[in-house]
Symmetry: C2
C-alpha cells in the first residue's frame, strides 16, 4: 500500500445512514469528498439529503472545509455504493453478525487496497474482523457524538500501513486522531465516559446531589478543564512545583483511598427512575432536538474559538 | 441570620496564601472586595501582592469584575486579619487538626454571624466542624483549580441560612454554585475526577495508549463535550429519540458490563514511572509555569466565549 499516503480518496462509501452515518456524510461533503451512501432502509436513504442540511450549515459556520463541497449520491444497493470505491465508512447497528455480513458483501466488490473503517463504539476489531478475507484493510475508526463536530477519532487496526493512511485521511478532515496500541472494548473515550458516569450515577443513587446539579458541577468544573488539558496533565499541574512526581509521592495514597471509596451503583428500577426524573427536571421542557441544537450551537462557538490560534 | 442575604460583605479574610488563597484573593479584589490576607509563613505574606498580579490581569481580560477593584491588606497576625470581618475563606493545608486550631482562633475574635468557609478539597464538613462553638456558621466551599478562572464552587453545610448567604455571595462573584445534599469526601468534582483518572491510569498500565494520547482523546472528545453538557445529559442525547429512558432500557445492560470491565490499577512503581515519563513526553520541555500559562490563556478565551450569551 506504499504511496497511498499521498493519494486521498476522492469519494467515500457511507454504509448505514442513521445519526452517525449522516454525520460522517456531512463531514465528508464539507471537506469536498463525494459520498455514495446506502442504507437497507429506504426511508433512511430518502431522508438523508434533508438530514444533512443542518449539519452542513453548522460546518459552514466553522468554516474549515473545502472550497467546493462534495456531492451526495444516495445508492439503491450496497453494491452500487461500494463499486470502485477506496474508502468505506460503516455505521451499521452494533450487531457483530450483521456487520460481518456487510463486510463480506463489500469485499466481494472492492479492490484489494480499499479500506473498510467501522464506526463501532461497542465492538472490538478482533470481534468484527473474523471472516474477513483481507483483515489488514479493516480498522475501527470510532468518532465521538456528534461526529461532524467532535474532533476525536479513535483508530485501531493491526496493519501499520492502513493505520498511516487512516490517520492522514481523518486528519485531512480536521479530526484529532488517536491510535490505540491495543484492541479494547469502548476504546479510550467510551471507557473514560463509563468510569465517570458510574460515579455520577452513584452520587444520584446516594442522594448527594440531583442529576442537574451533578451535570452543572461537571460542566463548570472538570469538564471545562478537560476541554483544555487532559486528566493526567491536570494531576501534573495539581502537584505544585513538583508536578506529577510530587503528586504521586505525596498524594498517591490519598488518591488510592479515594478510588476505594468510589461507588459501584446498580441500575435498579429506583435508580433508573431517579435518573429519568432528574433528566426531565434538567431538560425543563426542552425536547431532545432543542437540547441537541443548544449543544451544537455552543460546540460550534467553542470549536471556532479553539481553532483561532491553530489549536 | 435573616436579612443577611442582601448584605454582602465588603471585605473578606483570606487565611493561607498558597495557590488557592492567592487565587481567591485575586477573585475577591477583582469583584471590588477588600481582602485581609494572612499566612503563618512570612515569605508567603510578602509575595502575595506580586503573586496576584498575573491573576488580576487574566480576570481583567475576562472583564466581569467591579468598576473599582478592592484593596489588598496583608496582615501580620490572624487576629488582625479576622477582626471585625464577616467572611473568612480558609485555605490552610489539608490537615484537620491544623484547620480546627485556626477555626478556634477565628471564633475567639469574630462576631456571631461571621461565616467561616473552608476551601478544603479532601476533608468533610463533619470532620472539620468538630470543636466549633458555632458549627452553623461553618461551610465547606470548594473551588476548582485554578479557582480565579474555574466557575465551580461546591458548598456543603447543615444550616440553610448560611448556605443561602454563601450561594448569594459566591454567585455575586460570577461563580457557578452547586450545593451538596450530603457530606462526602471529594465532593462531586473530585470524585468524578478520581473515577475518570482511575480508568486513565488503567489504560496506561495496560499499554492501551500513552499518557499524551489519552489526554488528547479526552480533550478532543468527552472533555470538550462535558464543557457543554453534563454526563447524565450526554446519555440522554445518546439514547436517540427515546432519550435516557430508551438508553437505560436498551443499553443499560451493556453499560453495566462496561462498568464491570473498568480497571482497578495499582499505583505501583512501574505504573508511576510510566505516568511520569508519559507526562515528560506530553510536556515536551514546557515547564509547569508554561503549561499553566497555556491552560489559563485558553480558559480565559473559552470563558469569554461562553459568557457572550450569558452562559
Amino acid at each position: 500500500m506504499a504511496g497511498s499516503l499521498t493519494s486521498m480518496p476522492a469519494s467515500v462509501a457511507v454504509l448505514g445512514c442513521g445519526l452517525i452515518g449522516a454525520s460522517w456524510t456531512a463531514l465528508f461533503i464539507h471537506h469536498g469528498l463525494d459520498v455514495r451512501a446506502w442504507d437497507p432502509n429506504e426511508a433512511a436513504r430518502r431522508q438523508l439529503a434533508a438530514q444533512i442540511g443542518p449539519l452542513l450549515a453548522q460546518l459552514a459556520e466553522l468554516g474549515t472545509g473545502a472550497d467546493r463541497p462534495g456531492r451526495l449520491h444516495v445508492q439503491p444497493t450496497l453494491r452500487d455504493a461500494v463499486s470502485g470505491i477506496a474508502w468505506v465508512q460503516e455505521n451499521a447497528p452494533e450487531n457483530t453478525a450483521l456487520k460481518q455480513a456487510l463486510y463480506a458483501e463489500v469485499e466481494a466488490v472492492v479492490a484489494p487496497d480499499c479500506v473498510i473503517a467501522s464506526s463501532t463504539s461497542a465492538q472490538t476489531w478482533t470481534g468484527l474482523s473474523q471472516g474477513l478475507r483481507c483483515p489488514d484493510r479493516f480498522i475501527t475508526a470510532h468518532p465521538f457524538n456528534p461526529p461532524h463536530l467532535m474532533p476525536l477519532v479513535e483508530l485501531y487496526g493491526p496493519d501499520r500501513g492502513t493505520l498511516a493512511r487512516a490517520s492522514a485521511f481523518y486528519e485531512s478532515l480536521g479530526r484529532r486522531v488517536v491510535v490505540l496500541k491495543k484492541d479494547i472494548p469502548g476504546h479510550i473515550a467510551g471507557r473514560l465516559s463509563a468510569a465517570l458516569w458510574r460515579e455520577a450515577v452513584h452520587l444520584v443513587a446516594e442522594g448527594v446531589a440531583d442529576v442537574a446539579d451533578i451535570d452543572a458541577a461537571l460542566v463548570a468544573g472538570p469538564g471545562l478543564r478537560w476541554s483544555v488539558i487532559g486528566a493526567h496533565m491536570a494531576y501534573h499541574l495539581g502537584g505544585g512545583r513538583g508536578g506529577i512526581e510530587h503528586y504521586l509521592r505525596h498524594l498517591g495514597p490519598s488518591q488510592r483511598q479515594r478510588w476505594e471509596s468510589l461507588g459501584r451503583p446498580e441500575l435498579s428500577d429506583d435508580v433508573c427512575r431517579r435518573l429519568i426524573e432528574g433528566i426531565a427536571e434538567e431538560a425543563a421542557g426542552r425536547t431532545i432536538e432543542q437540547l441537541e441544537a443548544e449543544r451544537d450551537r455552543m460546540l460550534v462557538r467553542l470549536l471556532k474559538e479553539r481553532g483561532r490560534e491553530g489549536d
